[in-house]
Symmetry: C2
């Protein structure tokens, strides 16, 4: 028993890191959560956490789901590096090299939202539903789309948080806060976009503020687009903004109104409560998805 | 030689049908083009065209790429039927049954735009580019997305022509002509949408009409969304509206402006002339794709 294989998983977020050692997706042996500080200091904590298990040889692969923007082009000289990011100190950080060198293990990398999608598909809300879509609405907006249980690989990493949607300036004069696109989805509906309108954090805006209706509408436009383009069999909405439970029925209703019966599927017409859902693994989707990455790298 | 296998392909359009008999994708033995009239009369012409080759046993499978909306759910009792369509006489038409009965062959069915995508991927502009996207902009707007050379299968057939995009009513007071969504992409940028603004067909609107700038902008918003969500390695724009060659450079420029450098790929930044392109097979993409369907069904 003492020499059974273990797996390591890291969810690297802009705010916090979650690390886990597990022998299965549902059985964590150790778990650690700490704040994201400088790269050097943060990596030191990660290394300290995993070292006993990598030294013993029980962990040979660690899955890493990380915040970005991330260079995921295997041909690139900076594969696995974080690109330009507003997060101080993290632009141009190699996310793989230090861990591989210090721990002597293989690192299997993907984006945080792809990891969350993988976690939910393995043992969460989208288990058995292919294709599936995980959208996170928080500091940024991003999506992980799985087909045959794998993230979609294309020209580049998908960046579906930046889609363009209708924006009625009369009703909502906010110009949007995306430095690239102004009023794309992320520019209109992310946590910082909410804060930009009210000078208060999305967390403290009261449940009965009329703004939430607009928030639900923007998200519904984007979901409609994702449904028409990707045709997922399950949509999971996670991230900080979606901690407001009351948003779910609002969004579902607006998706139905916006699609207006066009997509003739029971999932949308009758069973939308089980079609657009919160994550089942709560805030562990990402780290469990990182374990999935580690396991798939060894199989 | 006389008993070599042949393949049949049908492109069933709302305006015309194209039928072909071929022994390879680049070698047609016979081809026929006729107007789409009533289902009974049109099917009669199709049957008449193929009968010599099905009777001789040389054609055992016919690929069919058809206009829609189409029921492509294999579980459905009306699989292969055209659903409610404004095309007189064609609502609720079984596209498979009559051909299968009269010709004694297997029919391999997909949408017209998926067939066009398959044709271009087999021997056209997207050959070697995976994933790829074919968008048709004509009477309607639709898209065929191929991953690993196969159309994306999900909850339902994708309907990416109906995505929602920004619409500035001050600049363009046209309400949109989509009966389901008003000013979705199809409601703003399809042939009938152009006609709805000018009381003249898109075909007769002069090249220097300032409207084309708006048309290119709407298409660029949609392409940006497709790029962010699907990350295709090649985008082909076909259909009647795209017969206007001058739209290509306009659209490419607006895609670059709208994305604003966000997607760091040479395909978008430097080589967009070879990234967003017209079909290479001209108006034969669909019927060649139908032949691909027939061949893949037998392999």
């Amino acid at each position: 028993m003492a020499f059974d294989r273990l797996y390591g998983g890291i969810e690297a977020g802009g705010t916090k890191f979650v690390c886990a050692v597990a022998d299965g997706l549902n059985h964590f042996l150790e778990e650690s959560l700490f704040n994201t500080t400088s790269p050097a200091e943060t990596f030191q904590q990660v290394i300290h956490f995993f070292q006993p298990h990598t030294t013993s040889g029980r962990i040979k692969t660690i899955g890493l789901g990380t915040f970005g923007p991330l260079d995921l082009d295997p041909q690139s000289a900076t594969y696995g590096f974080i690109k330009a990011t507003p997060k101080p100190g993290w632009s141009n950080t190699d996310m793989i090299g230090p861990l591989q060198r210090e721990l002597g293990v293989k690192i299997k990398l993907d984006t945080d939202v792809n990891a969350a999608a993988l976690g939910e598909f393995a043992c969460g809300a989208s288990a058995g539903f292919d294709p599936s879509l995980y959208i996170t609405i928080g500091t940024g907006i991003g999506g992980g789309y799985l087909k045959n249980g794998k993230p979609l690989q294309g020209l580049v990493n998908t960046e579906m948080g930046h889609v363009r949607i209708p924006h009625d300036f009369e009703r909502d004069p906010f110009k949007g806060c995306c430095p690239f696109h102004g009023d794309c989805l992320e520019g209109l509906a992310s946590g910082p976009a909410i804060q930009g309108r009210f000078d208060e954090a999305a967390e403290t805006l009261p449940d009965d503020d009329p703004f939430w209706d607009l928030e639900a509408e923007y998200l519904a436009y984007a979901l409609m687009n994702y449904i028409l383009v990707l045709s997922p069999r399950k949509i999971i909405l996670g991230g900080g903004v979606m901690q407001r439970d009351f948003l779910f029925p609002l969004i579902r209703r607006k998706v139905q109104e916006t699609l207006n019966g066009y997509v003739e599927s029971r999932s949308l017409l009758e069973n939308i409560e089980t079609y657009i859902v919160p994550p089942k693994l709560g805030n562990r989707s990402g780290v469990i998805g990182a374990l999935v990455l580690a396991m798939s790298a060894e199989s």
